[in-house]
């Protein structure tokens, strides 16, 4: 039972940054803009969050700054893809090169040549809202004594779902992702809607990065974000561009990582080669894809640019 609780809590820890980022991907891609720059936006978010945490102290302000930093790079992505009709992939790759470059560069300038930030003291990390509510070490404690970001991630899944499928803005976002021409003829500002979606996407990715540097650990390091952005993109596709399924994909990934941690426990009666263990999440993902995912449909206008009056 406790083992299971632990696996669950590890799952949550691993999934949280992925969920933030995947929600970002869902937002952007539903508006028709491919966002492969998620990785870079997470990195800059992780850095900006940690740096702000060190300098300002208040974790929530720092967290927001992480989001804003992601949003700024999303804006750069938006300018290229929305206003200049640039290829989404090229621009996204550019962001993935630029953002980590800027993060490390800024770190060196701000922190005396170090590519990592100082450590943020425990009290300046994101709080754990249920800390102390359950007896320490109990199953409930193991599962629920998590950082606020974990809860926030799940709340955001609901919020994003609600916004996308129940609100005017969401309907418009999906409309410009499916058929921008249609939206345009109905007087919807396609560019503005896409900009909003892409910036929201960057903010979410930035928050995902900041949740790494302000909750999972308490500093930024160059390798802190190494591939999570790509996994999040995979989760978006895996999740058929829907927030709830993208979340499920992130959880699956987090869960299989947690399993690999669990099976690495030397107290178990058997032992598995550590490299084979490390492969588990990736193999599980592939297998699940093969079994469950029949080809899924992307938003119809995904990756295409829309220019008024062009055919």
């Amino acid at each position: 039972m406790e083992d299971f609780a632990l696996i669950l809590s590890t799952t949550l820890m691993y999934s949280t940054p992925l969920i933030f980022a995947a929600l970002g991907g869902v937002f952007s891609e539903n508006s028709g803009i491919i966002n492969i720059g998620i990785e870079g936006m997470m990195t800059i978010g992780a850095f900006a969050g940690a740096a702000a945490g060190v300098i300002i102290g208040n974790p929530w302000i720092a967290f927001m700054i992480g989001g804003i930093a992601g949003g700024i790079f999303a804006l750069i992505h938006g300018i290229a893809t929305i206003s200049f009709n640039a290829d989404h992939t090229i621009s996204g790759v550019a962001i993935n090169l630029l953002a980590p470059g800027v993060a490390l560069f800024a770190s060196k300038i701000m922190f005396d040549g170090a590519t990592m930030t100082p450590t943020i003291p425990m009290e300046n990390k994101i709080p754990r809202p249920l800390n102390g509510l359950f007896p320490s070490g109990s199953v409930l404690d193991i599962i629920f004594n998590s950082y606020a970001t974990v809860f926030l991630a799940f709340i955001l899944v609901v919020v994003v779902w609600y916004v996308l499928y129940k609100t005017r803005f969401g309907l418009r976002v999906r409309a410009v992702g499916e058929h921008p021409g249609s939206a345009d003829t109905l007087g919807i500002n396609v560019a503005l809607t896409r900009y909003s979606a892409v910036i929201i996407s960057g903010v979410l990715a930035g928050l995902g990065g900041a949740s790494m540097s302000l909750a999972v650990v308490s500093s930024f390091r160059p390798t802190l974000i190494s591939g999570q952005g790509y996994i999040a993109i995979a989760a978006v596709i895996f999740g058929k561009w829907r927030p709830q399924w993208a979340m499920a994909a992130c959880l699956l990934f987090g869960f299989s990582t947690a399993l690999s941690v669990y099976f690495g426990n030397p107290e178990l009666p058997f032992s598995i080669n550590e490299n084979l263990l490390s492969m588990i999440p990736y193999i599980v993902t592939l297998i699940v894809l093969v079994i469950f995912v029949k080809s899924s449909k992307a938003p119809a206008a995904l990756g295409s640019s829309y220019k008024k009056g062009e055919r």
Partner: protein, 326 residues
């Protein structure tokens, strides 16, 4: 940061200006670990002798493929001593030593089966520092269970692993050591997960020798109110209440000494310098007294003397460890 010797010609008449350079591994110079420590040693050297006497510099490597060209760059700049920081540079240094037999090289943390004549290897008795922290852990554990988290297993991490195990057992035969490898030096979240699992399974002190993975483990200690042991540098500042001690690897001291020997003319190439406890090459963190009871520290001090005198032999790997247990 340092300027390389374009002023060489101007100084032609004066005394020789020594140039010492180091190439980091992919961790970069500010890794809060051995790269940073090595650089600190060089900076100290320059401070001691002045810029007129010695010029130091570093080149950071961004990926493994940078090692060879970075070493080459320093060779090109007529550097008198080129230090490769970390076992990952072993091949690059060996290669360069072969190609430039008139140049001197040093390598940290690794030696060769056949030591080239112009390479000095600086080795550290990490097993001994790990042993000492093991003693502390053995004495301080309340649950009689302590953990060790390794990065990617290999010769260097093995020394920490088995040294620590031996230390724990020596101090507390009833205590148990749980060992888990993260198979990563970078995934802090993984370190945290493993540490959480260890904490849940009753380990109250965890020693990690695993780069950024260890940062995650220390994070877990902070959160779960458990104790952690740092590595390479004094990592107490990462969690002042939780990091009770660190297995210190005084690369700065070793590098400083090596630099001095070059300048003083006592340097001899092709050596294998094992930085021992005796030489202050390894040890426990000075901040240990904050969190470790004086009597335990006293005990550790006593055991350290025995190591220095050779009464205790600390195992470096599984084989020696098993022999010891027999």
């Amino acid at each position: 940061s340092p300027k390389s010797g374009s002023e060489k010609d101007k100084k032609a008449e004066g005394e020789k200006v020594f140039k010492i350079g180091m190439v980091t591994d992919t961790g970069g110079v500010n890794d809060e670990s051995f790269n940073q420590s090595a650089w600190a040693g060089l900076e100290k050297l320059q401070k001691e002798y002045g810029k007129e006497k010695v010029q130091v510099k570093y080149l950071e490597s961004k990926q493994d493929a940078d090692y060879v060209p970075n070493v080459e760059t320093l060779v090109d700049e007529d550097t008198d001593l080129i230090i490769g920081v970390g076992f990952k540079l072993a091949d690059a240094i060996e290669e360069a030593a072969k190609s430039y037999s008139d140049k001197q090289f040093a390598l940290i943390d690794a030696a060769y089966e056949k030591q080239p004549e112009n390479v000095t290897s600086l080795l550290f008795e990490d097993n001994v520092s790990a042993y000492l922290t093991g003693l502390i852990a053995g004495r301080m554990t309340e649950t009689k269970k302590v953990g060790f988290i390794g990065g990617i297993s290999g010769e260097v991490i093995d020394r920490f692993d088995y040294g620590f195990r031996a230390g724990v057992e020596a101090a507390n035969p009833n205590a148990e050591v749980t060992v888990q490898y993260a198979n990563s030096f970078t995934d802090a979240a993984l370190g945290k997960s493993i540490a959480n699992q260890m904490h849940k399974n009753g380990n109250d002190i965890i020693f990690s020798a695993a780069g950024a993975v260890g940062i995650g483990a220390i994070e877990a200690a902070k959160e779960n109110n458990k104790k952690a042991i740092g590595v390479d540098q004094d990592q107490n500042k990462l969690a002042p209440d939780n990091v009770i001690t660190s297995a210190m690897k005084n690369i700065d001291v070793a590098v400083l000494n090596l630099g001095k020997s070059i300048i003083d003319g006592t340097y001899k190439g092709g050596q294998l310098i094992v930085n021992t406890l005796d030489m202050d090459g390894v040890g426990i963190a000075p901040t240990s007294k904050k969190n470790v009871a004086p009597d335990v520290l006293e005990y550790v001090k006593g055991e350290a003397e025995k190591i220095k005198s050779g009464d205790i032999k600390v195992p470096q790997n599984e084989k020696e460890y098993k022999e010891l247990k027999k």
